[in-house]
Symmetry: C2
């Protein structure tokens, strides 16, 4: 390929996926122009969506590693969270549920703003990458192909390239253009829950006021609050409540009502949130959408990826991780077929679409697990059995959560494993009721109860089961 003209790409969106994709393509010798509707965060500070922290797990790290960014991000920006810390509704001890039988497995709390800046700097330093901020995209010429933007003066900018990539998020203008083509399947489905962020500051003398290496959850049945640690020793809390009905945003009309409601339902958090009622009044309540569409590609030269192709709800912490896996896979497909871009895009969609559908489903299911099941004794008991069996049988019985968060096994495979394990765990829990103490006898009993059921668990290809770790 030496001496040939470099291939050219236009990327719409300088968010997480757009910047990482630019890194991948630049390292493969492409020339890339990235257009972003927001201002340059390097100059003007970060103006992003509303979710402040993200949970970076192995797929995301693998995606970063392909662009040689994993060490930088994990060492400089992440706080490992090794399990869920459950805050019960009534007074009582906190319950720690480790994410894995392996104590080094963790998901990592990272700041969206910080990570986006890191990726932007990394991409901007690579040869052949140019960034164009304050350039909203409002159309795509699918045939050229070219993206159509407005520059800050209001002039139309038309950018033609070999490849147009929509990394432009859940409300993607690129996808909106694809949606106007015939036979484009599309759905957007909202939860009846919204989210609102709140803040827990560091202790007066500095330091965390709760366990930092955990994802804190206040499961309340139809609603919940979570908190993720930040590097400045604060926590970002997020309420996931129904818009209307019981335990709902609409129910709290004034500050006194907010204060009283939190004292009743989130009592242990109230002393940690000095600005609770101000934050509640000031911060927006945002909606939660799942977007599915097909096809993701058009004419062998236009594609969407990340949230633009498959926006999901945040309850598995996989939106960014899935987007980074998209970047890695798309780069691999393009590298594998350098003379057949249409084939590469088709192969990308063939590989990723079933997995994007699977994580969309699992993310919806995990909301029920987090807000409701995680607080229930029968569920906690099944989780305990699951981890004991995982420890006993090793990779043969890796749970769904571990496959999703601590491996790069395809999401669809993890989803199947989850269904199979759920049936097995219910059967074992029925045969071996919760013991007085989790002793050797109990361990032997659950291993024996599971034995005849092991055939119901589909083995996973050894290659796919290899974990990628930082």
């Amino acid at each position: 390929m030496s001496g040939a003209q470099p291939r050219t790409a236009v990327i719409i969106g300088a968010g997480l996926a757009g910047c990482l994709m630019a890194c991948y393509l630049a390292r493969a010798g492409w020339r890339i122009a990235v257009f972003e509707r927001r201002p340059d965060p390097r100059a003007k500070g970060y103006v992003g969506g509303r979710s402040i922290n993200l949970a970076l797990s192995v797929r995301g790290i693998a995606g970063l590693a392909g662009a040689e960014l994993a060490d930088l991000v994990v060492q400089r920006e992440a706080i490992p969270m090794r399990g869920r810390m459950i805050h019960p509704a009534t007074t009582g001890p906190l319950v720690f549920q480790p994410y894995s039988a392996n104590p080094t497995d963790a998901i990592n709390s990272v700041s969206r703003a910080g990570l986006n800046l890191t990726l932007l700097h990394a991409a901007a330093e690579l040869p052949g990458v140019s960034f164009h901020f304050d350039h909203p995209c409002h159309d795509v010429d699918l045939e050229a192909p070219a993206a159509i933007m407005t520059d800050p003066s209001g002039a139309i900018v038309r950018a033609q390239a070999d490849l147009i990539l929509g990394c432009d998020g859940a409300f993607s203008p690129v996808r909106l253009r694809l949606q106007k083509t015939d036979r484009f399947d599309y759905s957007q489905s909202y939860l009846r829950h919204g989210y609102k962020e709140l803040h827990i500051p560091p202790a007066p003398g500095g330091g965390f006021v709760m366990e930092p290496n955990a994802l804190h959850i206040w499961p309340r049945g139809g609603a919940m609050m979570i908190a993720l640690p930040n590097r400045d020793a604060s926590f970002t809390c997020t309420l996931f409540w129904p818009f209307e009905g019981e335990h709902a945003f609409a129910a709290l009309a004034d500050r006194a009502a907010v204060e009283a409601f939190f004292r009743a339902h989130y009592a242990d958090a109230v002393p940690l949130m000095p600005a609770l009622t101000e934050d509640f009044a000031r911060n927006p309540t945002s909606s939660l959408v799942t977007v599915r569409c097909a096809p993701w590609t058009h004419g062998g030269s236009v594609a969407v990826l990340g949230d633009a192709a498959h926006a999901i709800v945040p309850f598995y912490g996989q939106g960014m991780n899935c987007a980074f896996e998209d970047c890695r896979e798309l780069a691999a497909c393009l590298a594998h077929a350098p003379r057949d871009q249409a084939g590469a895009l088709a192969e990308f969609e063939r590989r990723r679409k079933p997995n994007a559908d699977a994580i969309a489903d699992m993310a919806l299911e995990n909301f029920i697990e987090m807000r409701d099941l995680a607080g229930r004794p029968d569920f906690q008991y099944r989780k305990k059995i699951e981890q004991a069996l995982h420890k006993h049988h090793g990779d043969r019985l890796t749970p769904q959560y571990n496959l999703v968060s601590f491996s790069t096994v395809p999401y669809a495979v993890a989803q199947r494993r989850g269904r199979e394990m759920d049936a097995l765990l219910r059967a074992v829990a029925q045969r071996v009721p919760p013991p007085v103490s989790f002793d050797q006898a109990w361990h032997a009993a659950i291993v024996a109860a599971a034995e005849p059921l092991l055939g119901s668990i589909t083995p996973i290809e050894p290659a796919g089961a290899v974990s990628v770790r930082p």
Copy 2:
């Protein structure tokens, strides 16, 4: 209400639903402006979508009756079809499957263009109705509320009213505006099948060349052709084939291939279609979409109905019938709560949404029934049992098809009945195998076999079961 200012409505779309809705509102004393993007068919001839005939059944007739249009349409424009005439793949006798044990039950073939003109004339003759053709709607001001159109000179026309109704079809601009509001659920899902229309002219001396009082079907497994009679003694045929793959549009590259393919798969129709290869080459291949969305209404003053709210595939012949039922129900809700328009719109959606979802599902299921099952002996036998049991038990065992096409029972109730009946029929067919002749002994056997299963059939409220007939 006398002396009060009349309520005002803007209707987008002068198609079937828009014209009928205008009739309903005008008769209730509203002032209505109807805006349509196409030219006036009274002056310039009908320029419509591509489907030429429609099957008008009891729901549609009831919708017309509410505006006192049923007699006119049924007597002047309809050809009753009392069952399916199955054309087998291999040489063999045609099989007639009556739609109902009641020989007077029929669905009615009507011309879309003729019916649209009839409704347009009817609406235009009523006081307070104005029509504005060549006025495409491109936005809605949801707060005013007002619809924004362009007139033929290119000038912007803004029409404000108490109520804005989107009767603007599957690709509704009004719905597109609702889609931009937060928490609007939306999906569009295409079949991998498309459709193309063909023509069977009258006999040389006039008259029909096939049975006129039937809907003709050539079921071919994954694909089919159907034909509906027209008042001029011609038939309109429609191919429903996959775009790609076997028995697909993409497979037939030239006229010789078309001719050979039809001789192989639709042999009995070929002599009846002198312009087959010309029609095949010239007529477009169109796609088939199911659209679902929620909410259908906004702010108590904007609503979508008909295809704009719930476009469905045509295989149950219910798209127009469902839209006419929408018109009737919306008019009833508005009349019932004259001082609470927001409540009336909410009640309309509450009543109709589950039923629109049900007919969308049943229409997709009926495609499989028509193209595949209808040609199979085991299915034909179950249909025979179904009709015998219906005759024996009367309203207690009305089949799903009859509830959908020959009653105004809610679609969701018909859907449940279909599932229950299907299980019962499979059980009876298993216990009583197909006989040598359908004699009294067979009849007694199936009645006896069904007897212990009757409890599985949920009774239908007597009020809902009353059929509306022209």
